[in-house]
Each structure stands twice: as C-alpha cells, then as structure tokens.
C-alpha cells in the first residue's frame, strides 16, 4: 500500500476558508471559540462494563470510545521480561459520511501508532510488572480505540480515551492449572498499574494561525497539524507532524508552549473524571482484595425450593397474554 495525497476532500470548508481565516485574524473561531480554547470535554470511565478498562470521551460532538482487554501471551523474544501493549484504532463507518467500511486505513494506523508511542516511551504502563514467567508468559494489554462520531480533533479525543481506559482498567484473576496459566474472568484482583498520565494537544495551523481542538471544518482546511503528547510532569512524550503543510521553528516552539499549557486543563479533567474513579476502585480492592463478576449470582434472599434443574416444560409461558397493538393484523 502506498500513501497518496488525499484527493477527494470535503469541499465546503475550502470555500469557507476565507470566512474562517478572516475570523481567525480577529482571534475568533467559526463557532465563537478563542484560538486556544477546547470545546467541552467529557469523560465517562467504565463505559464498557465488560471490558477490563474503558472510557467514552466527548470533545464537542466528537465521540471516541476506548476499551482495554487483557489476555496471556508469550513475550517477544527480545523483551522476555516485559508484558505486551497493543494499541489499535479504527474510524467506524457510523462516525462520518466520509468513512467507508473496511480495514483500518493509513489515518487509523497512524492514530494507533502515535498513541502507542506516547504511552510506550513514557512507560505509562510498567510492562515489567506484567510478567508472569519471564520468557514464557506475560500479560498482553490491548487498547482498542473506536471513533464513533468524527467532528474534528479525533487525535486528542483518542489519546484521552486510551489514557482514561488504561487508568480505569482492572486486572482479571489468574489461575494455574497444572503447568498452564488461564485468565479467570469471573473476578478482578487489582488495578492495572499506571505510572504516568499522558494527554495530547494537537495544534492546527490554519492560514498561519495556531488553533487547538479544530472542529471538522477547521480541520479540513488546516495546512498542518502537530500532535504533541505531554506528561503530567510537563515533559513531551510524543510528537507527530501531520498534514500537507510545514511549520517554522518559531511556530513549533509556540505550539509546544500552548500544548504544555493546555495539557494542564486536560489533565485536570482526567483527574476529576477518571482519577477519582480509579481511587474509588483502589479503595474497593484494598478492602475486598477482589471484585467478583459474571458467574451465576443467584438471588439468595429467596427460598430455593429445588436446587436441581427443573423438569422440562413449557408451562413457564402459560401466562403470556398477547395483546395486539397498532391496529388489525393481517390474519384478522
């Protein structure tokens, strides 16, 4: 597969370019925001109860959900003392009229990889703590990022969702049967260790102005975008220049300053919404050591007449009353 200049682009924003640019010159955005202002950011941790960790992130109308799943795997030969982290991202066809169903395209793969690098290089997840038997078996952490509605700035929403999902992730139980290890999906036994918090602020350049969190129209006419991942201690954890344009050194400096400033805002939201959630979970694990899920939790408050499976019968549905709603049916 080769990478080709995007030739079929949504056209309306191009025509609005003048309007958008002249507004930017006055320091105003097309939706009334300031240049360095995010749309409302909301995070729902634990959105997918069945995943080990998950989060739904909304930035304006942009919606991204991330889920963390864990299983056991053989470590890579060159890192026998480390667990495995896999980041995957997809733009769902439900997210935009411009997304066709199919395998991840170059944008989805790029998105997955920039998130992966920002998490990996900061050692956000201490992979060395995920080893069960060195060289033989380790935990494998999957982070799947799904874009549900694309209204611009998917990168920051996706990064935030991935980070939040990891922070909300619980470790499933582990059982050893003979020589074999198995995941016990009926209980969680603790939190996934998370060393750092990393968020990203992607800066877009539109007509020589730097803006954050572009909506879809703005993003379409941006000449260049710079993805900047920032850790909670103010270090740069990842960079990626995207788009057909270029940046001057001064612009890059300015962009990084903006990113470091605004990262504090995103980190605050993350702490408020997910940090507290994680602390609550931590408390539960400290008290109970484990959280039991699934299985067959039978209601215990009721008197069980027969513990054994009941006789085969169709009597259970004898009382079904069928009313016909919405007019006459065909047969009648």
């Amino acid at each position: 597969m080769v990478s080709i200049t995007p030739w079929e682009q949504p056209v309306m924003p191009k025509l609005k370019r003048h309007t958008i640019a002249s507004l930017l010159a006055k320091g105003v955005r097309i939706d009334g925001r300031k240049l360095e202002q995010f749309r409302p950011v909301d995070i729902t941790p634990g959105y997918i109860e069945r995943a080990e960790g998950s989060a739904l992130v909304k930035i304006g109308n942009t919606m991204v959900v991330a889920g963390v799943k864990m299983d056991l795997a053989e470590p890579f030969p060159d890192t026998p003392n480390e667990g495995i982290l896999v980041v995957n991202a997809e733009f769902m066809p439900i997210a935009s009229p411009y997304i066709e169903p199919g395998p991840p395209d170059e944008n989805a793969i790029e998105l997955a990889r920039i998130i992966d690098r920002s998490l990996r290089e900061m050692r956000v997840i201490p992979l060395d703590k995920l080893v069960i038997e060195p060289g033989k078996i380790v935990w494998r952490i999957y982070v799947d990022v799904y874009v549900l509605n694309h209204d611009g700035n998917v990168t920051d929403a996706a990064m935030l969702a991935a980070m939040a999902a990891l922070m909300a992730a619980r470790m499933p139980g582990l059982v050893k049967e003979g020589d074999e290890y198995k995941v016990d999906r009926t209980r969680y036994v603790g939190l996934l260790p998370v060393n750092h918090r990393v968020v990203s602020v992607t800066i877009s350049k539109i007509e020589n102005r730097l803006v954050v969190d572009p909506n879809y129209e703005e993003e379409t006419i941006a000449d260049v975008r710079l993805f900047i991942a920032v850790s909670e201690d103010g270090r740069i954890a990842g960079l990626q220049k995207m788009g057909t344009g270029a940046l001057t050194l001064a612009e890059i400096d300015k962009a990084i300053n903006i990113a470091i400033n605004l990262s504090k805002y995103l980190l605050n939201v993350l702490e408020e919404k997910v940090g507290k959630y994680r602390a609550e979970l931590e408390k539960v694990f400290a008290e109970k050591k484990e959280i039991v899920i699934g299985g067959v939790p039978h209601t215990t408050s009721e008197v069980v007449v027969e513990g054994q499976p009941v006789e085969s019968s169709v009597e259970g549905v004898g009382t079904v009353a069928v009313e016909n709603e919405g007019g006459k049916s065909r047969e009648e």
Partner: protein
C-alpha cells in the same frame, strides 16, 4: 369516517406502521403507504388531511430526506465534462448549503446551460467549478443553470487554481494571482466579488 375521527387525525403525530385510514376514505400522498387497503404512516411526522380533495399525507417532523426532486435547487461541483455538450455535476449541498447524505451526480446538457446560444459547455463552466443548479428531471437526474440565480458560484483559475473574482461591470472573472481572465455563466449568488 366520522367527522370526529377525522378531526382527531389531522395534525396527529404518527410513527411508521401506524394505520391512518382506508383507501376508500382518502387518496394516499407523501409519507404514507397502502397495505391491504389500509393507509399507514411511513415516516414519523404529522398527519395532514386535505378534506376537500380527500387526500392524506404525513409531513416529516425532522428535515426531509435530501433526495434531488424536480424544481429543487442544489449546489454541486462540475465533476466531468464528457462531451462538448454534456457535463457531469456532483451535487453535495441543498439550497440551504446543508450537506446531503451522500452525493448525487446529475447531467447538465448544453441546452440547459445558457439562455444564449453557445457551442460548448466550456463556454459556461469548467471542471471543478462550484455551481448552483436546478433539478429539471429526476430519473435520469437532469440539471439546469439557465436562470440568472443559477450557474457558477465559485470558480477556480484554469492556469493556477486560485479563486476567480467577479468585478462589477466586467463580464469575465478575474484571477488575482496570475491575472488570467475567464468566462463563465455566473450566478447572481457568486461568492467572491472584488469591489476594490
């Protein structure tokens, strides 16, 4: 049908599948369908009854589907000129500049391209032009740019690709970047006007 029931029906919010009346009572129009002699709602909307002409329809509550219908105005791009007398236009927005669900490709014939006599569609449009068109036929989708408010609303320079400007009092469109001048069938809605 009793007058009371009829009165209750008018303006009622209905959902797909809901039985409204029989074909003996009304002539079904938009937003309804007939199943076994029963007129039912096909969309969610308000029942509208024309009791004089015995017609019934359901008026959509949300914006209607954006499917090109005869007489409607759309915006689109010239996506191909297949012959001297035929151009293809990809419709992308409705008259309110609202995005369509997808695109629809229509055909513009020389005879619908100008109220003057012209030899080639190249005299009125070029590839990539943004045009305001009217639907003259649905199947096949035929378009017209004859009227003054129809035609090119944004054009790009054939030489350098920059936006072309309309200058009051000048027939041609002018490129500010390379000075090129080009002819188009310009709509009164043309977006880029240079008054300076």
């Amino acid at each position: 049908m009793t007058a009371a029931r009829l009165q209750k029906l008018e303006g009622k919010i209905v959902l797909p599948g809901e039985p409204l009346a029989t074909i003996e009572e009304f002539l079904p129009e938009e937003g309804v369908y007939v199943d076994n002699g029963v007129i039912r709602a096909a969309i969610y909307g308000k029942v509208r009854i024309d009791s004089r002409n015995k017609r019934i329809r359901v008026e959509p509550i949300k914006a209607t589907l954006k499917i090109p219908r005869r007489g409607e105005i759309y915006y689109g791009f010239v996506s191909g000129i297949i012959r001297e007398d035929l151009a293809l236009i990809k419709l992308v927005f409705d008259s309110q500049m609202e995005r369509l669900s997808g695109t629809f490709t229509g055909v513009l014939h020389l005879s619908q391209a100008s109220d003057r006599r012209i030899e080639s569609v190249y005299q009125v449009i070029r590839l990539g032009d943004f045009v305001r068109v009217q639907v003259v036929n649905e199947h096949p989708l035929l378009l017209s740019i004859k009227q003054p408010q129809l035609g090119v609303v944004a054009a790009f320079c054939s030489n350098c690709g920059a936006i072309l400007y309309r200058k009051p009092g000048i027939d041609h469109l002018v490129c500010k970047r390379c000075g090129n001048r080009e002819l188009r069938k310009v709509s009164t809605y043309y977006m880029f006007v240079d008054r300076g």
